[in-house]
Symmetry: C2
Subunit: 362 residues, 2 copies
């Protein structure tokens, strides 16, 4: 598969859905990716089956508060700096890029890096969605070391982290990202082909393209009808009543109230946010929760509204997609379930929650 | 010259004076250095004249808030980690250690590192005193690059900084030090023997030992009489009336009021602090200012009282020593003069200020 002028917009749209509200610069990321493939040619997406066992894969992502990236745009050279620094660190050549997270703008950065370094992108990622913290990644669940990690800013300042676990890396690298003006880009949890075949979420890139194609296809009907083939659910349709959001400690944190409209009139729903949408609550009941993927769409256009863009009065349709299987395991939930974000409730799969609600309504 | 059980206490005492109030862990640093030379043998201090032109010198210091080091003591292994990481970074062996700053506990760290790595210590440093920020160093004044810089904590977490100037390194590495719990140790501004002969403050180690010997010699008379041969001046003798001090952003900041006693009765003097004592003011007039070296001594014992130890009611004698010549130049004052610390007055050498006061009093 190739990512080019035709497929990239679908890919970006699917990544936006999988971003769970994180990644407000996905639109400028798409423009940068389109410019990169226009100038340098399409990016090849390869299956992990075709990656040699010992080939080096570089997972990459941004680190910081996504709202900052609306103004602090990156530098396409960052991919070259990251690759060079990781090759120097490990003493061997890089084989391919991987999105550390397929959600939001972090799906597009490795496309730009790939175009500028001439390396392919593997059809996989470390989350199958987006999460706010460094250790919330499939490679961590599979024991892949977080370091060596390279962090660069848009001006070429380099920092290398060694001998740290993923939690300590999250703590220290985020502090450094704040000092760097709130955002930087990294390679962490680098791994070889053999490890990647078991330690990643496979098929994420093609999955994002497919989601984008399906949602863009108006012949499929309304939002609920388009979501059906990708196992998505509409949680509520409404108007944004209140937005509490602040940038603190390298994160966007807050919550949003949605007032139901039309068939949802009378419902009041709260979305909890830490970079991504983490949980949806109604009258003290959970409608959906991390690790399931909660995304707000513009009710009119079906476009994703990122957490940084949520405003009073917007008409939104809140949707949820099931999390990748690995996050629904005991180990997965310990790392990224609601209690990992200090919520005092357990995880229930969104499809069960939706079925229960339908049952009690009928 | 050797630093051993006999010379180290003098060295530490001299370093404490040159520390300008910074480095409250100098006492525990001395204990650690004594233990290191007892276990591993004395540390050789070599003249820069005996260092080959292309030999690699590693300037080392702590980075963070000195009050934290009273509880967060270091790890003697840190010197081995720093050396190994710098050798890996530069691809050549280290020849000798250097104190980045001769003032306070930072004079003792390279002694411990030297004992544990079997490398000598050069008779020089980067300040001839202590300063609070990374760029306030003679090597910066002489155009030596700040990076590559290695930072390690007491648990062996490694961070390497590349391609940054000294100001940006100060900003980002200090933020990281705060994330590391408020303190870490570094090598920055590494340089070769030929460069070191012009870009450092030479003779600092033997100067610190000499100061320590002179001040310990009670046959020389009172504090003022002991200070005379090292060009030191007593600014005021008094009792501490008030201490405002807080740990913020990786620094100790605040000020102290001293109420004159005996022949100084009726005088009220304020000392301004940022890790070190920066300026002394009386009725709006400057008595002494950075880069001259301002240190508080216990009036009874002559021992240095570090900024972290200042308490209400203490009897102190505030003394000042002239700054090394390089800091009294235009370029030196631009980097470390009072205006570099946002004070709205110019530098006047302490000996001139003292002479003026004597004149107006007579």
């Amino acid at each position: 598969m190739l990512l080019d002028e035709t497929t990239l917009p679908y890919y970006a749209r699917g990544a936006a859905i999988l971003g769970a509200g994180g990644g407000g610069s996905t639109r400028s990321g798409l423009l940068a990716a389109l410019q990169a493939v226009e100038e340098l040619g399409p990016v090849e997406v390869i299956s992990l089956d075709d990656v040699p066992d010992d080939a080096l894969i570089l997972p990459t992502a941004g680190l910081g508060s996504p709202d900052i990236t609306l103004e602090k745009i990156g530098n396409p050279q960052q991919g070259v700096w990251l690759r060079d620094a990781m090759e120097r660190e490990l003493g061997r050549p890089a084989y391919a890029w991987m999105a550390a997270e397929i959600g939001g703008n972090n799906a597009l950065k490795p496309v730009i890096w790939a175009a500028h370094t001439g390396l392919p992108l593997v059809d996989a990622d470390g989350m199958g969605r987006a999460y706010p913290e460094v250790q919330m990644i499939s490679m961590h669940l599979h024991g892949v070391p977080a370091t060596p990690t390279v962090l660069v800013d848009e001006r070429g300042h380099h920092v290398v982290f060694r001998d740290m676990d993923a939690h300590w890396l999250e703590h220290t690298a985020r502090a450094l990202s704040v000092a760097f003006g709130g955002f930087s880009v990294t390679v962490d949890h680098s791994l070889d082909g053999a490890t990647a075949r078991t330690a990643t979420v496979r098929g994420s890139v093609s999955w994002a393209v497919r989601i984008g194609e399906i949602l863009a296809d108006s012949s499929r009907g309304d939002i609920a009808e388009r979501l059906a083939p990708i196992d998505g659910h509409v949680l509520v349709s409404g108007k944004i009543e209140d937005v509490n959001r602040r940038t603190v400690g390298g994160f966007v944190r807050g919550n949003v109230l949605i007032d139901g409209v039309a068939s949802d009139r009378g419902r009041l729903v709260r979305v909890e946010i830490q970079n991504e949408n983490l949980a949806v609550l109604e009258d003290g009941e959970v409608l959906a929760t991390v690790p399931d993927i909660i995304t707000a769409l513009d009710s009119q256009t079906g476009e994703v509204i990122f957490t940084e863009e949520l405003r009073y009065g917007q008409r939104v349709t809140l949707v949820a997609l099931p999390a990748p299987d690995l996050w629904r395991t005991e180990a997965g939930l310990a790392l990224v379930g609601p209690r990992a974000f200090a919520y005092d409730f357990d995880y229930t799969p969104v499809e069960e929650l939706v079925a229960r609600r339908k049952e009690s309504a009928s």
